[in-house]
Each structure stands twice: as C-alpha cells, then as structure tokens.
Symmetry: C2
Subunit: 295 residues, 2 copies
C-alpha cells in the first residue's frame, strides 16, 4: 500500500535549468519519485515581468498539484524571487524556492561579510537574495549583478573558452571590485559555467550552488513532516505514467510545454542518464485553460 | 468616410525585433496606420519547435485579425520560416513574411553565386531561405549558420566591442570559408549588430537587411490590390485605441503580451520616437482562449 510519503516530489523550472536541482535530488534522495515540469515553450522567465512570471508559475504549480505531488520545489530562481510568496498563499502543497537556502549557505560561507549574487534581470531586480540574506544578518553586505548572457551561453554549450571568459570578466568586474569572498550562482544554469566562473573570480572566492543547499533543506523538511519516502521498496510513487526503475529507486516523469527534442538532448547529457518518460504537454491540456474558463 | 484602404497594417513579432520592420514601414509609407503585436511574454521563438511557433503565430494573427488589419506582416523570421504557409491556409487576410523578400534581394545582390544566411536555430533549421533562393535560381549556393547568441547580445545592448566581435568571428568563420559575397541577416534583431558584422565579414560582403526588402514588397502588393492608403488626410485608420498623429500620417498602436517596461525603453530608443499607445494585453484577453474553448 502506498501512503502520502510515497507521492512524488514536484519540480518546476522555466526550462532545462532545473535539472541541476533534479541531479542533486537524485544524489541525496534516490528513492524519491519526481515529476518535473519545464516550461520550454515560454522559457526564459528571467527577462520577463513579475506579473508574467507569477502567472506562468501559478500555471506550473497547478499542473503539478494535479499530479498529486507531496512537495513542490520551485527550481527556477526568477520564479522563486518573484512568485513564491503568491504560490505559498494560493496552494496548500508544502513548497520551497531556491533563494532562501542559497542565502543561508552564503551567509554561513562568507568570512569578510561581503557576498556577491549573480542571476537574471528578474532575480537581481527583485533583490530577493538581499532580503533573504539581511533577514539572517543585516550587517552582511550584498552586491548583485544581472548577467543575461550566461543562460544563452550555457544553452549554446559555450561554457569554456574565449567568449565565455570575456563575458564573465565583463560581468564580474564590478562585483569583484566590492571585495566579495562568496558568490551565489543565483540561476540554475550557472553551475554549467562553474569552471569558467571560478577561474575568473579566483580561488579565494567561494561559489555557492543553490541546488545543493535547496535539496538538503527539502530533505530536512520531508523528514520533519513525515513525508520522507522510506528507503527500499516501500511502495510506488503515485505517477500516472512513469518509468519503472530498480526497486528502492524512485520513479520519474518529465513534462515539457514545447516539443522535447533539444530538452532531451541537452538534459540527458546534463543528468548523465535518460529522461524517460519525457512527455510534451500541449497547451490545451494544461490547466490554465480551465482556470481561465472558470474565472 | 474611411474605406478598406484606411484600415491599418498588422505586424507581429516574437518581441521587439519586428520594430526594425516598423521603422522601415514608417520610412517608406508614413501615411499607413500600424497595429503591432509583440509576444514579449513568450519571446524568443527562434529556439522553439515548429509546432509551438505555429501555435503562437496563429494566436498572434488571430489577435490582429480582430483588430481588422487590411494586411499582415509576419515580421519574425522564425515565424515566417515555420508558420507562414499554415497562416496563409487558415486566414483570409493577405499576408507576407520576411523570408521571400530577403531571398530575392540576396539573389539579386550576389555576383559569385554564394550566399550566406544567419538566423535563429528555428530559421536555419527550417532551410526556408535555401528553398526560397533555390526557387529563384537553383544554381545559387546557400550556406546557413544558426547564431543563437546574437539575439541576447542585441537585447543586452552589447552590439559593439570585444564580446560582440568575438562571438561574430566564431559564428561567421564557417560561412566565410565558403567564399560568400552576400550575407542575409535572417533575424530582425541582427541589423542592430550591423556595424560589427560588416567589420567581421569585410567590405566585400553585402549585408541584406530583410526589413527593407519586405516593406518594398508590401508597398507593391498594397498598390496592386488597391489597398494603399492615399496620401494626406484621406481618412482615419480603423483603430480602437490610437494616437492622433499629424494629418496625413498614419495612426499607430502597439500591443505586447508582457508588461511593457523594457519594451518601451528599448523600443523608443530603437524607433527614435515614442511608442504610444503601448498596451499590455493580458492572456485572458487574447483570443486563443476563445479558440481553445470552441475547438
């Protein structure tokens, strides 16, 4: 028999970036089931307004709610920065974004009290990291910098080499001038550029990957609320369509709003294994239609 | 009294790039009214699938159809490449894309018969320029190259300097190896990078800006079909909301699917004058809702 703890964890992102969070989830809690939704038809979110990002995020959460997830991870920094409070008000599912765990990790890591944050225009413009860090310690100094070219660079696969270095040097000069010793990678794409970023900022600056911190926090919250799926073979996550993995490993399903060609290619290279089942969800099947009609 | 020729011309694009076409339209036919729709909530199209770009394009055309435009310009290369035949089948409004005019101009410009095309992944992957050029002359050699970083570079405003040059050199090396003498800028954003591109390809290569050719063709088709608006003060275009320009100048209205902040800023700098009225169209007001419900 399967109980509430056997339900899958829902993860959504504007596209492929949230797979950095899935990779960490697989590493820390391989026995959990996962339903991933990537809004590849409307990616990116980081260049769009709070209203639009909130509307899209609501629709994504609604989709995962219908998939009966037990917990929701907003794996997109822009959505976490702009839409999380609204989602927390509107939905009953326990949920987490990536901002607060990242802020906590950075506050713990800094020695000189100066933290840099890089992210999309939406994330940096929201000053959500600043607020989260100052809630922990208001004496910490935070300097943010929007780096809109990092996402297309990562998606183009230009994560090393002349162009990547030149872009990184241009963006990071200002942040480095503030003498930071800790840099939050405030976008799920940025870990792909980690080597180049570390080279540009130097070894004395600690890079904070919010995925690691987020999943550690998810694990704590699942355990505390009795929702952690118990080890080996304790039941099947409640997934309509799902892969059948080895016993004791969670089942996974991946949904995307655009045809999955490129998502599969980049995603598989990225996660290091197959993305199955990978389902294209046509807009007509997505729940915002119903919402629109009923309002 | 206003007749069919007084109706406005509809222009849509995935976002802001189509304003290069509007600028040319203003130059060649200042007395025409314009309704522009930029799908800024779902931009870009060039990284998305044919199915998704066709769906979005249909919704945009439907919106402009309701605005009673007399002629439709698909100002987005990706939408022209992937969705134009479908739109031509489904809609009665006379319409044009940017691919065929660009192909004709390039075929006329080349001396050595070798033409390069740069554009988004969607446009280059569709081989729409190749097909259009070969319809004119199948002995012409066409070499295409997708340049996904040019759009974010243009939107970031990095149109000159070290990064832009380095990206352009990387992308264009392959095309230049083919000994082309003509290069089609197959994306409405690329004219913003014109100076850098010209420097990289050298003065012997002719750059073809499809906006210029497209508007010339629109003018011919309007005249031929008796839909060209006649000179000074012959009536008011049939726009619900519109600016009141000087007599003899067409009225304009701009609609966007995301909150217009950045669109206004970049667009005004780009067009060299105000974008008024500029209206944010919420998805609930967009016609795809009705379509979805009625199907």
């Amino acid at each position: 028999m399967s109980g509430p703890a056997d339900a899958p964890i829902g993860v959504f992102d504007s596209g492929i970036g949230g797979l950095t969070v899935v990779r960490e989830l697989l590493q820390q809690m391989p026995e959990e089931g996962i339903v991933y939704f990537g809004d590849t038809a409307r990616v990116p979110y980081g260049t769009k307004s709070a209203d639009t990002v909130t509307r899209f995020s609501r629709e994504n959460a609604l989709f995962l709610e219908r998939m009966r997830v037990k917990f929701l991870i907003v794996a997109c920094n822009s959505a976490s920065a702009l839409a999380l409070p609204t989602l927390q008000r509107e939905f009953r599912i326990p949920m987490i974004g990536v901002i607060e765990p990242g802020a906590r990790a950075a506050a713990a890591a800094t020695r000189n009290g100066r933290i840099g944050v890089i992210g999309t225009q939406a994330t940096i413009g929201s000053r959500a990291y600043d607020a989260a860090i100052h809630k922990i310690d208001d004496k910490l100094e935070v300097v943010g910098k929007a780096c809109p070219l990092f996402v297309p660079l990562a998606e183009e696969g230009w994560v090393e080499g002349e162009v990547a270095e030149s872009v990184a040097r241009t963006y990071l000069a200002e942040v480095l001038d503030h003498g930071i010793d800790t840099l939050i990678l405030g976008c799920t794409h940025y870990p792909l550029l980690k080597d180049t970023l570390q080279r540009v900022v130097g070894d004395d600056v600690t890079l904070v990957d919010t995925a690691v911190e987020t999943i550690t926090e998810v694990q704590t919250r699942l355990v505390d609320s009795g929702l952690r799926r118990g080890g080996t073979g304790s039941g099947e996550p409640d997934l309509g369509e799902s892969n059948r993995g080895e016993p004791g490993r969670g089942e996974h399903a991946y949904y995307v709003s655009d045809v999955p060609g490129q998502f599969r290619q980049v995603g598989e290279r990225f996660l290091g294994h197959g993305l199955e089942p990978l389902v294209w969800v046509d807009q007509n099947d997505l729940p915002w239609y119903e919402r629109g009609a009923s309002r």
